[in-house]
């Protein structure tokens, strides 16, 4: 049990502290950093998917007045570490995927840099490429671990025997598409190399963690931590794609080192982001469910196939949530990976859980239909008493309450019959459950100082729209027992103590825990009347960490879908989620996160699809006109509610993390609602009208 804070500022609906700067547009993002005499870098990308660069004709570029530097694999500096091949920029002539960085031009203006980069003629020794993911490939392999350190395969009991003897079985394959994070702010870096002494690199980088960013750069360039400073007060969205640096950060630093003393700005174009900024792998999920006539599951199995790049392994853990979600004596999960000539996949909002709850939650809906049992009731009947995966008790699990409260708020009991028609529209409702693990990262430290009558905390954390600028002061104020107006929290700079990445919905839990330790130490050391300059540090290692419970947030999403009877156009006028995510620190910013996650889930369900063209070897629709994310008109009434959940085991705030659970489950709920409306079961995302027309 942790020593829970008495909530005073926590739970208050405080307006964002960075709000005024954001509505005026004066908050400065990485590329916008005001610097003296900036130069501009534009990348050169490979236009073959596999092969070698045999020649780069840079004469035209170098001859342009105003071009300051041209970087190619043959002229670029040798990096200290090339172990991470995503970061080994311009270190060899090998092309491992189309769009890979093979050069850059730095020039006096952005127009000139782009013109010069476009003028470089590249000759390749092209090899045939292999970019097509399928479950039938004979070279699928089992990775050592999957993302977040999970076991690759798990097995308990005998799924095959359970399937053979069950009253009812579901055996289907579901797929999720390739997705690109597409934060509105493109991945951007302003880099400045000061050659004095041993040299010092300043990076104004759009990142979800200045410290992890710095650690990666130090490793690649062989620099000491003191030689690199990363600054990032504002992040224009990340959704995981800025959780680790990508190759362009190294390129920006190389460009800056080529022009000592001159700040260099590099922003990926939107098109380049489809090659260089990470993405969510497509997933193929073979599901097996076995149940008796009462709907009690005897087997749950999921076999997942994903892809990675040949140069770097990222194995999305899409089979993981099925391990713990429902009770069943016989269970299996496997992950197999295809290493292809494709860009490097990475984190995207709720890696693992987001795609990994699609197959299971649609399969459950199919089972409910087969059994004639209400899908909510079916889930309730399979509620596990302890974590089926680890056998540990839950720190708290209120999925059933989320389903019941959601049903009440949504009007589930009065839902229209299947294939209900309202004028030209077919109407259906659907539900799915969601889950996200409650994590805390291993390292974060906060400094707390009394300064001019105010409490000032410093921690190298990040606010990518989550509300950290606002909620961290709330936590600090309650830990100190002072008014939140008397607290300043400074984030987004490696000059402040180490903080973990804003990822895994763990930021508030981790940084908040460090702030609580610091605040308690401060009070212990200096009492209630501190003097100017009094200062302590606190870190998460000192905070109580419960290892005896399985800690997760849970939720349930409800969807009303309408499908045009003539054209198959799909609209979602209502989307409602109820979540049990511990104590909510700031209901205003929390609601925005839940709603934002659900909106992204809606986007995943109906629109998003990075269409892979295996002939060319790239995403065909690599811009925002053709890669559709939801627009305002796609979004109707989206509501997020939460239970007043008290979890004494997770951390001093009692908070579980809320940034990702909103997207989990939403796509399945949409598919289930569309099925109810039309009778058409779509197992391959996105749900688009062409998939419905044959059934209308």
């Amino acid at each position: 049990m942790t020593d829970l804070l008495e909530p005073r500022a926590i739970g208050r609906d405080l307006v964002r502290r960075d709000g005024v700067a954001k509505v005026r547009g004066t908050a400065t993002y990485a590329y916008e950093t005001p610097v003296e005499r900036p130069a501009y870098a534009h990348p050169v990308q490979a236009t073959v998917a596999r092969g070698r660069v045999t020649a780069m004709d840079t004469a035209t570029a170098e001859g342009l007045d105003g071009v300051l530097a041209v970087l190619t694999p043959s002229t670029a500096e040798r990096l200290a570490s090339t172990e991470d091949r995503e970061f080994a920029v311009l270190q060899s002539d090998e092309v491992a995927f189309r769009g890979q960085l093979i050069g850059a031009v730095v020039a006096e203006t952005s127009e000139l840099a782009r013109q010069a980069a476009d003028s470089i003629r590249v000759t390749y020794a092209e090899q045939s490429h292999d970019t097509e993911l399928s479950a039938d490939r004979d070279d699928l392999y089992a990775p050592g671990k999957v993302n977040a350190g999970h076991e690759t395969d798990t097995s308990e009991g005998d799924v095959a025997a359970a399937m053979a003897s069950a009253d009812v079985t579901i055996e289907q394959t579901y797929t999720t598409a390739m997705y690109h994070n597409n934060p509105l702010e493109p991945h951007s870096t302003t880099a400045l190399w000061d050659p004095a002494g041993d040299g010092h690199l300043t990076l104004w980088d759009s990142t979800q963690g200045v410290h992890p960013d710095r650690a990666a750069v130090c490793e690649v360039f062989g620099l000491a931590q003191e030689q690199v400073r990363v600054i990032c007060p504002y992040v224009g969205g990340g959704f995981g794609s800025k959780g680790t640096p990508h190759a362009h950060v190294m390129l920006a630093a190389m460009a800056a080192r080529a022009l000592p003393g001159r700040p260099v700005k590099l922003a990926l174009t939107r098109q380049q982001m489809f090659f260089l900024a990470g993405y969510r792998t497509p997933t193929i999920q073979r599901m097996q469910l076995a149940a008796d006539r009462d709907g009690r599951l005897s087997a749950v199995a999921i076999d997942v196939v994903v892809q990675t790049s040949r140069i770097k392994e990222f194995a999305e853990q899409a089979g993981v949530p099925a391990r713990m979600m429902y009770a069943a004596p016989n269970r299996r999960s496997t992950h197999r990976v295809a290493a292809l000539d494709v860009p490097v996949p990475s984190w995207m909002r709720a890696p693992g859980e987001c795609p990994g709850m699609f197959g299971p939650e649609v399969a459950l809906d199919e089972l409910a239909e087969e059994l004639g049992i209400d899908p909510i009731e079916l889930r309730i009947r399979n509620e596990p008493e302890v974590d089926p995966d680890t056998g540990k008790p839950w720190s708290s699990r209120h999925l059933v309450e989320c389903l019941r409260e959601g049903a009440e708020r949504f009007g589930w009991a009065d839902r229209p019959p299947a294939r209900h028609r309202d004028g030209n529209w077919l109407v259906g409702t659907g539900v799915a459950a969601s889950v996200y693990p409650t994590m805390r990262q291993a390292r974060s430290t906060a400094n707390l100082r009394y300064e001019d009558g105010r409490y000032v905390a410093e921690i190298g954390a990040a606010d990518l729209g989550t509300g950290a600028w606002t909620v961290l002061p709330q936590i600090t104020a309650d830990a100190l027992g002072v008014d939140v107006a008397d607290v300043d929290v400074r984030i987004g700079d490696t000059e402040y103590p180490i903080a973990s990445v804003a990822g895994g919905s763990s930021g508030t839990n981790t940084w908040g825990s460090a702030l609580v330790v610091a605040a308690r130490a401060f009070r212990e050391k200096f009492g209630g009347s501190p003097s100017d300059g009094d200062e302590v540090a606190g870190d998460v290692d000192q905070a109580a960490q419960d290892e005896d419970h399985a800690a997760y947030a849970f939720g349930a999403q409800f969807v009303e879908a309408r499908v045009h009877a003539d054209t198959g156009e799909i609209r979602v006028p209502r989307l409602l989620g109820v979540f049990a995510a511990g104590r909510i620190v700031n209901p205003r910013t929390a609601r925005s996160q839940f709603v934002g996650g659900m909106t992204m889930g809606l986007s995943m369900a109906l629109h998003e699809n990075s269409v892979w063209d295996p002939q060319v070897g790239q995403v065909a629709n690599h811009d925002l006109a053709e890669y559709h994310v939801t627009v305002n008109a796609d979004v109707g009434d989206v509501q997020a509610h939460w239970l007043d959940e008290h979890d004494p085991f997770v951390n001093a705030m009692g908070s579980k993390g809320i940034g990702e659970i909103g997207i989990v489950g939403t796509a399945a709920a949409v598919v289930n609602a569309v099925h109810r409306a039309t009778g058409v079961r779509v197992r391959h995302l996105p749900v688009t009208l062409d998939k419905l027309l044959p059934g209308l």
Partner: protein
């Protein structure tokens, strides 16, 4: 090739030399240091660069600076030029109509444009009747604001913010 243009930005006239290739967006951001309009896609596909160009909302990434010599441009920053937030900005703050903030200045300029277009009686795709005066209903605002992508998913707060600023239902 260079050209000289005069741009009046947020009330201040600037004489500057631009490349003929320079867009209004890059002129604002990279020449004049006004980074309120954002570059999200640079191709008219996201709306983050929306400014008020001679009184109308427009995408500054698709406008060449040289072609708009003499233009009057208002950015989100300029809407609060006297230090007081514009009612649309205040409504965005009140409704938490943003998260990361990157699309926000464009959303706000767009919303100011929308309210003006509705006052003029301009129709939209969402209107039930092409010839009737539009109202600030949810569907009208959502359609008219659909040129501004928000990846954080703040749409459900943006619509009531625009309605609030327009003095309509919210």
């Amino acid at each position: 090739m260079d050209a000289e243009v005069t741009l009046t930005v947020d009330g201040t006239a600037h004489r500057l030399t631009v490349d003929t290739r320079t867009t209004l967006l890059d002129a604002l951001r990279e020449r004049l240091g006004n980074t309120s309009p954002k570059k999200g896609c640079d191709h008219g596909q996201c709306g983050a660069c929306t400014v008020l160009l001679d009184g109308k909302r427009a995408l500054s990434c698709l406008a060449l600076a040289v072609a708009h010599d003499g233009a009057e441009i208002i950015t989100a920053d300029g809407l609060a030029a006297d230090g007081e937030l514009h009612p649309v900005q205040q409504a965005f703050l009140d409704r938490d109509a943003f998260q990361c903030g990157y699309c926000t200045p464009g959303q706000i300029c767009s919303a100011v444009g929308v309210l003006d277009e509705v006052r003029r009686g301009w129709p939209s795709h969402a209107g039930p009747d092409l010839t009737a005066d539009p109202e600030l209903s949810h569907d009208e605002v959502a359609e008219r604001m659909s040129g501004n992508l928000c990846r954080c998913g703040a749409y459900v707060n943006i619509v009531p913010a625009v309605q609030q600023a327009g003095g309509g239902q919210a």
